[in-house]
């Protein structure tokens, strides 16, 4: 159920971002755990256009992110259930990615600083994340989406003022 929701979410987001690849170019969609991703021969990843990483751990983070930046055709990056809480602006970002989807996992303000390094025009979708207390200072980001997230009501005006944004079935909390 969760995967179906997330897939629909991604499909809905894509038209807002624009085409990500020429139709005649071979683009693979690949799905790995962090551990498996590090074992795959580099040649098998060269045509990877969409990568879903399912649940990489903090100890795998540096190696995984370095490898992600080596994928020449990667335009869609899905991070599902990953610990991104220690990812920050010193970590590398893939340069051709147009859509980043973060579903579940752990986030922190450092993660937002990492996301701010993505290329201009990137769309970022958060699904089933607790984004309370996070400041979304992402001037390069073209579009933000929040689905089934925990959000503070006070965050809404700031997000709308700064970004193109979509809210779908979130849970909203008052500031304490």
């Amino acid at each position: 159920m969760r995967l179906k929701t997330l897939f629909c979410f991604l499909i809905l987001l894509l038209p807002a971002i624009g085409p990500v690849a020429n139709a005649d170019e071979r683009m693979d969609e690949l799905n790995y755990s962090g551990e498996d991703f590090l074992q795959v021969p580099k040649g098998d990843l060269e045509s990877c256009g969409t990568l879903e990483l399912d649940g990489f751990k903090e100890k795998e983070r540096s190696a995984v992110l370095r490898r992600v930046t080596e994928l020449p055709k990667l335009t869609v990056l899905n991070l599902t259930g990953c610990d991104l809480s220690l990812t920050d602006e010193k970590d590398p970002v893939p340069t051709k990615v147009k859509v980043v989807m973060i579903a579940g996992g752990k986030l922190s303000q450092k993660t937002i600083r990492w996301l701010s390094k993505f290329p201009t025009g990137t769309g970022i979708a958060f699904a089933e994340c607790d984004v309370r207390r996070l400041e979304f200072d992402l001037p390069n980001v073209h579009f933000l989406a929040f689905e089934h997230c925990e959000v503070l009501k006070s965050q809404i005006p700031k997000l709308v003022q700064k970004h193109d944004v979509r809210f779908t079935e979130n849970t909203f909390h008052d500031d304490k």
Partner: protein, 191 residues
């Protein structure tokens, strides 16, 4: 600038509803000027002014599914909406640069319309009261509208989109917390 935005908005909104034309060899060669939908019936040009809409006979537009109406004035409002009510298959209504300020909840909504687009024109609180009668799962888009100071009372399951609009911050917050889905593109909020 505003018209560029509206044109872009129209383009985006029109794309999903455009039925790809059949390959040339499968079209009847005697009527090359028409495009054809999947049932092989002539496609109705969806663009109307109040005058062109009122000039058409009902038979000509009875099967209209999408209507884009430009420049409605208050003096034509009743006649135009009465005509729109007569279209049994209308599922999408786009109102560009229309004066909707005198519409209110006593005016009927076209029964089967599931997608409304209101771009520019005059919108006020009574327009929103009229529009708030939509059933759940209706999609409503506002483009280039000044909605400051207005309150929204759409059913929870309405999907709302605001493109290049001005809204008050508390209203935007309330919209987001009450609605299933809300999209904001290039909007400005005021206190």
């Amino acid at each position: 600038m505003r018209y560029k935005i509206l044109l872009a908005l129209l383009g985006i909104l029109t794309i999903p509803h455009t039925v790809p034309a059949k390959p040339a060899e499968t079209r009847p060669s005697t009527i090359p000027a028409f495009t054809w939908d999947e049932s092989n019936e002539p496609k109705i040009d969806p663009f109307f002014t109040p005058a062109s809409l009122l000039k058409c006979s009902l038979d000509e537009i009875r099967k209209c599914k999408t209507m884009v109406l430009w420049g409605l004035k208050e003096k034509d409002r009743r006649a135009v909406f009465a005509r729109i009510q007569q279209l049994p298959e209308l599922s999408e209504l786009q109102l560009f640069g229309c004066d909707l300020s005198q519409l209110d909840q006593s005016d009927p909504l076209p029964a089967k319309v599931k997608t409304f687009v209101i771009a520019g024109g005059k919108v006020c609180q009574s327009t929103l009261r009229w529009l708030s009668k939509v059933p759940g799962e209706t999609k409503v888009t506002f483009g280039g509208c000044d909605l400051r100071g207005m309150k929204f009372n759409f059913p929870e399951r309405t999907w709302l989109k605001f493109d290049s609009c001005e809204l008050s911050a508390p209203a935007a917050t309330e919209l987001v917390t009450r609605s299933e889905q809300v999209i904001f593109l290039q909007c400005t909020l005021s206190d």
